[in-house]
Amino acid sequence: MTVRRLLVGLDGSAGAQRALEWAAGLASGTDMEVVVVHVLTYGTELVRDMSFETMTNWRRDLAADLEGAWTELLRGPGAAVRWRSVLVESDSASSGLMQVAAEVDADLLVVGAQGHGGLVDRVLGGASYRLTHLARQPVVVVPRDRQAG
């Protein structure tokens, strides 16, 4: 089963960057498509006292991060990765990632061992670990301090 399309969860954390590096290494120079996804979670980000305008700005900023700073390594000189980004809203990072995985027909999900959630996530096992139990696709958990190569 050759991987044709892999999905990477990004949230601006160092852990998520490691996941993206690993995914880019796998996809570089191949036909594989990398779909980078950020999940806006209602619980932590949207249901606060937020005006419509603030919410719109927030979404715009996140979309800019997703196309900008967070994905810089996909756009640098010599980068040979086919990719696109998706911003999705969901009640949790794991359900948002699974939703996009189904929509884009991903073969593989790649997440960082850290990131994707706050304290509650960590107490309950973390979004990355929840994904490994629930996703229909194989899930790669990339450690933060992984070895080079």
Binding site: M1, G125, A135, Q137
Partner: protein
């Protein structure tokens, strides 16, 4: 340097899915696949019997894998000890660890965690958790 893919094999269908995934990945990258089966010292019963059964399970899984296109034969490793620790140790110089997802009750998982959680948290290389095949490909007969 040749890449090493370590896969946990325990005789279950999901671990066979993990082995299939690992072999497919190895085929793409010319990597070496190491199938590691961790067995546990029995509290009663004979040690030799348990070890022999583990050896059979491992040999059977590897024999059933489609190794066409692999540049190296699958390496079989039999280890005894606590599963997560042994797998993390076996993965020390690996490029990738592949594990099958074990079906498990949610409450148990939340309380105790699973082998894949604990390996993914502590391994130094990326860990792939492979779900069981929707097509219901089975090993046990």
């Amino acid at each position: 340097m040749t890449r090493r893919i370590v896969v946990g094999v325990d005789g279950t269908d999901t671990s066979f899915e993990a082995l299939r995934w690992a072999v497919a990945e190895a085929r793409t990258h010319g990597a070496i696949v190491e199938a590691v089966h961790v067995w546990q010292m029995p509290s009663h019963g004979r040690r030799d019997d348990v070890e022999a059964a583990a050896q059979t399970d491992l040999a059977r899984a590897v024999a059933l894998a489609d190794v066409g296109g692999l540049s190296h034969p699958i390496v079989k490793k039999l280890r005894c000890g606590p599963v997560s620790e042994v797998l993390i140790d076996a993965a020390r110089d690996a490029d990738l660890v592949v594990l099958g997802r074990r079906p498990q009750a949610r409450t148990k998982r939340l309380l105790k965690g699973s082998v894949s959680d604990s390996v993914a948290r502590r391994a130094r290389c990326p860990v792939v958790v492979v779900p069981s095949s929707p097509s219901g490909m089975t090993l046990s007969g």
